[in-house]
């Protein structure tokens, strides 16, 4: 039982990170109908920017943790958003209206370019970060096993819930969210009502990149190790989460992320750590075959 709860906590933590990245996939897919293949790289850049920001803060001697965290969060979000915006301007916008395959290829090109850009500027080795948030609460201890809910896990899960609530409200209630949903349902009509579609699409990429930046920062604080290739697998996992939840659906991305995190944690806990990626991608294959519209997605027949 104790072991089970420990894996549950670990799974929710991991799932939070997948969920944050998955929202970027799902929002972009919703509005342009295409997978942003460079999104994993955006997350990786978010992680690198947070390590840079933590290092700079260390140099300047900011030691009060809440202030440090907020500053790193801001730096990561602002600069990562700029990259997300650039991906859309360079890889997608010039190809709008041309064949999907063309945009797909240019996005993969963008992904490779970003990976190599980080490889060249930051090197191939791993970068490490000392734990920023230490300690935790012991949920319970039985004999030789203790269940620990670490403070960093609490931080990750709470921040994720908060961000998801903010985003859900934004999409449901604000003018920007309405414009995004309108572009999703009938882009031509949205234009005919005075919506600047290019701007709305740009903002969607930026919003996805903001959450990816947060995920990058959180993963850096959680594992303390990053490298230029980390965006590839994490991107695939988060994409799996988005598909599992129903691509295009915001709650779906959150749910899919959590489920995938739990599956991985339990798989690693009860079967084998080596094959946890196989479990994730096995799920992707099964969902694509048996439930192509995902858990909360709408079947395509409803599309008007």
């Amino acid at each position: 039982m104790a072991y089970f709860i420990q894996q549950l906590v670990n799974g929710l933590t991991l799932g939070s990170i997948y969920g944050l990245i998955a929202i970027g996939y799902t929002m972009v897919y919703g509005i342009i109908g295409m997978i942003n293949f460079a999104h994993g790289e955006i997350y990786m850049i978010g992680a690198f920017l947070s390590i840079l920001a933590f290092t700079m803060l260390g140099v300047t001697g900011v030691t009060w943790m809440p202030l440090a965290l907020i500053m790193v969060l801001l730096v990561a979000i602002v600069f990562t958003s700029a990259y997300g915006w650039a991906v859309e301007r360079i890889a997608y916008r010039p190809l709008r209206g041309s064949q999907r395959l063309a945009a797909l290829i240019s996005a993969i090109g963008m992904s490779l370019a970003l990976q190599n850009y980080v490889l060249l500027t930051q090197g191939a080795g791993v970068k490490t970060l000392q734990p920023i948030i230490r300690g935790g609460v012991i949920l319970y201890a039985t004999g030789n096993f203790t269940v620990i809910l670490s403070y960093i896990q609490i931080f990750i899960i709470l921040l994720t819930i908060l961000l998801m609530a903010i985003f859900a409200t934004l999409i449901a209630r604000t003018a920007l969210g309405r414009a995004q949903r309108a572009c999703e349902q009938d882009r031509g009509m949205a234009t005919l009502l005075g919506i600047n579609v290019d701007r709305t699409i740009s903002l969607t990429f930026i919003m996805g990149a903001m959450l990816a930046a947060v995920a990058g920062m959180l993963v850096t604080m959680y594992y303390g190790v990053i490298d230029f290739f980390m965006g590839f697998i994490a991107g695939l996992k988060a994409f799996t989460a988005a598909v599992l939840g129903g691509i295009g659906s915001l709650p779906g991305a959150m749910l899919g992320g959590m489920l995938l995190g739990l599956v991985e944690a339990f798989w690693a806990g009860y079967f084998s750590v080596e094959y946890k990626d196989v479990a994730s991608f096995g799920i992707l294959v099964l969902v694509l075959i048996f439930l192509p519209s995902g858990l909360l997605g709408r079947p395509d027949v409803e599309k008007v």
């Binding site: 309405r178 414009a179 949903r181 349902q185 009509m189 009502l193 005075g194 919506i195 600047n196």
Partner: protein, 236 residues
């Protein structure tokens, strides 16, 4: 208020408009009639820049808008309720109306909402219903209401009575007259329902194969034997 000068439009290599010249003056209701595929919808869409006129000019209030981005044309006071209603199906009635108000001053929103609910009380009762679940007639009312929410000076309407029963057709035509008279909105109306639109309109154009073949006042065209034969079903 609106002027098209020798406008040519294409879909790829297919030519849809072959030198359209027309004008709509402030305060008028102008109708456009013509057979299927004549280019009526294309004319309205070309005014909004989708597709762009390949040659010729579109002038709105004297400004050349031929190459202005669509969303900016709309924000300059023109509103288009296009063919096929195009309600956002997974948005509520209220949200659809909010989308219609994107191009107008938020300070007007409540007044404009009140006005469209006066015109179409059923929309007021159905504010929280999803657009996609409205009946065809309700969707048509929502489409017109949405186009009015931007406070337009010029309203383009593409077949507002399509697919509606006789009662609703009459109601829609009444509302179009009301919008024009009470609110001073200038209207360019495309209709299959030639008889009723010629009765309502001050002037009208007849389109065939992407060209204007006739124009005149509503009464002149109603009396024209050629129009009677081709578009008004011979007799009546």
């Amino acid at each position: 208020m609106l002027r098209l000068e020798n406008v040519h439009s294409f879909y790829g290599r297919i030519q849809a408009l072959r030198g359209i010249n027309l004008h709509v003056d402030s305060g008028e209701i102008v109708a456009m009639i013509g057979a299927n595929g004549a280019g009526k919808s294309t004319t309205l869409m070309t005014i909004c820049g989708q597709p762009r006129a390949r040659s010729g000019r579109v002038l709105f209030d004297g400004d050349d808008i031929t190459h202005v981005p669509t969303f900016q044309i709309i924000r300059s006071g023109l509103s288009h309720s296009p063919e096929g209603r195009r309600i956002f199906p997974r948005m509520t009635v209220l949200e659809n109306l909010q989308m219609g108000a994107v191009a107008s001053d938020p300070a007007h929103f409540n007044d404009d909402l009140g006005l469209v609910f006066d015109l179409f009380p059923i929309l007021g009762e159905r504010q929280q219903q999803r657009g996609g679940t409205l009946s065809g007639g309700e969707q048509q009312m929502l489409a017109i209401a949405r186009a009015l929410m931007s406070h337009p000076r010029l309203l383009l309407l593409d077949e507002p009575s399509l697919g509606l029963g006789p009662m609703l057709v009459k109601q829609i035509f009444d509302v179009i007259g009301q919008i024009n008279q009470d609110r001073g909105v200038t209207i360019l109306l495309v209709e299959q329902n030639a008889h009723q639109s010629l009765l309502l309109a001050h002037r009208a154009y007849v389109l065939a194969n992407g060209e204007i073949i006739l124009h005149g006042t509503g009464d002149e065209l109603l009396a024209d034997p050629e129009v009677r034969n081709a578009y008004l079903g011979g007799g009546n």
